[in-house]
Assembly symmetry: C2
Homo-oligomer: 324 residues x 2
């Protein structure tokens, strides 16, 4: 196939109708008409083979996840996803791989109502960079810097599943069913909490998505809000027990719960006056929301974890660092 043919191939898979754009792919720029009065929330994430995913990752799941991690940033602002662009470097053009990647990517786009309005493709080591856009009313976005002393700290879902799934893939633990499957889905096909983010507008005082690990991400809220955070270990949702004679070591479970990346749950703070509303939201969304601690005065950005006896736990691993 000619080189021009390779480009045409890629364009064919990614140029789809963009009903919510004025002008989609194929010009120097896409043209978007923001809704009157709304603010635009913008996020960009770069995923690199070998750093963020295994080079042989199933391309459908990779396509899904590449967009999902960006949608998760939009969810953490309480913003409604609208548009995204995709830039990618590929070492070679493998039509089957491109087709499956596009299928997963557009499946995620359809699930969250995102129009893919533009992109760029080039040759290079496998790298995917997505920029995603959403709209939110002025003053309504869930920022990291809004937490106040006494606000309750919540987390959705079951943080740690994704990194437990990774530990399983790496042979560090053998998970029984149905946990193996649940952890695999959490790792490979995360569901960004868009509906939760939208429901938390006017209720939560701050929010972040758990991408780098619960303590690290809660630390970002604490730092930006100039507060400390106190987490009660016993209030965290349990991770699965292993099979008989094969229990998950406590150190690994703790590591996954507190420092496991890639969960894309939301961690958020709630003023006590709004606390009553959280249970109703959990019921409405059929999504567990766990109160795991409270914001406190103290060193900005410090996150302390306490055991059931009220003793602080020393925990060194503060989240995933891409330069690790």
């Amino acid at each position: 196939m000619s080189h021009a043919g390779e480009f045409a191939l890629i364009e064919r898979y990614f140029a789809r109708p963009t009903p919510s754009a004025v002008l989609g792919p194929g010009d120097d720029c896409a043209l978007l008409q923001p809704s009157p009065g709304m603010q635009l929330a913008v996020t960009t994430d770069m995923l690199v083979a070998g750093t963020h995913f295994f080079p042989d990752t199933d391309p459908f799941n990779l396509g899904w996840k590449a967009l999902a991690v960006n949608v998760s940033d939009l969810a953490a602002m309480g913003a409604k996803p609208r548009w995204a662009t995709l830039a990618g470097a590929l070492p070679t053009v493998d039509e089957e791989w491109v087709a499956k990647f596009a299928e997963g990517f557009f499946a995620c786009a359809a699930a969250y109502g995102v129009d893919i309005v533009g992109g760029d493709t080039t040759r290079g080591p496998l790298n995917l960079c997505i920029t995603a856009f959403s709209e939110v009313a002025p003053g309504q976005a869930l920022r990291r810097d809004g937490a106040k002393v006494g606000d309750l700290i919540y987390v959705s879902g079951r943080p740690g599943l994704a990194s437990l799934g990774l530990a399983h893939l790496q042979g560090k633990v053998e998970l029984p069913e149905p946990w193996r499957r649940l952890c695999q889905i959490a790792l490979e096909k995360p569901r960004p909490r868009v509906a939760l983010g939208l429901r938390l507008i006017g209720i939560a005082s701050a929010a972040i998505d758990v991408s780098d690990g619960l303590l690290a991400d809660l630390g970002h809220i604490a730092k930006r809000s100039a507060l400390s955070a106190a987490v009660q270990l016993v209030q965290l949702p349990h991770l699965p027990k292993g099979q008989q004679h094969n229990d998950i070591p406590r150190a690994l479970a703790l590591d996954c719960q507190l420092a496991g990346g890639d969960d894309y749950e939301l961690c958020f703070t709630v003023p006590p006056a709004h606390n009553q509303q959280i249970a109703a939201i959990a019921t409405e969304l059929e999504l567990p929301l766990w109160c795991i601690g409270q914001m406190t005065a103290g060193i900005a950005g410090e996150v302390a974890v306490f055991d059931p006896d009220g003793q602080p736990i020393v925990f060194d691993h503060h989240g995933y660092d891409h330069f690790a």
Copy 2:
């Protein structure tokens, strides 16, 4: 240095005041307030070491150019640059390199009035992905699909300088001064034609920036406008003569003029009724604007080049292909 320290280092160089954003770097998303009624033009470009630039490129110039190529896409829409995000993968963190890259990047941002509102940094083979945003009034953007039969074809500046500079670096030709310096600047520190794009609103019928080569990019206008284009070779601006006994071979000069990438000049079409205004714009901007041909009915996307005798020239090399 700790890994967290490396991240803090990078953040320090790229978190600068963003007066035109509601919320800049440091949260899950940036927050932007679009101007009432305006449309948003969005472009994304990925630059890969070894594909788009030499890995040992001067980091200041690389920083400038990485943003400039995106600003050029905004210029080609006639849109006023406002915001950008930067995602980058680095194999290692070299503080001196990061500092110089940031200096060049922000120099370009300042020159074109762009606020850097967010980003992402990770470990991986050197890769830079920028997404840039501008505003344009509804219906005013210079698209590729607006050319009509009989519209005159223009190009700004002197297409081919950048690729001639590359040929010099590659030892294919030895350029005399001041051309060597001019070609080097064109290659390493391109000036996107933002002022020209803004002035062409309401005058040009279509526009594109010359990033892949004049014929290839004019071909995009022709294809999207469902027309052919006829280019008169004699009307193209001259490229430099070489030094005595060292003239630039005609084949190389032609290749640079017609298929040289990386110029970031604007190629645009003008209805005959507006043609009188072009000379005034050239004078006002102190930028040569060359009428090089005319749009014609014919096979959509076909670009024919004619010599002074009116004979078509066969020319195979239709622009730079990143999968070449």
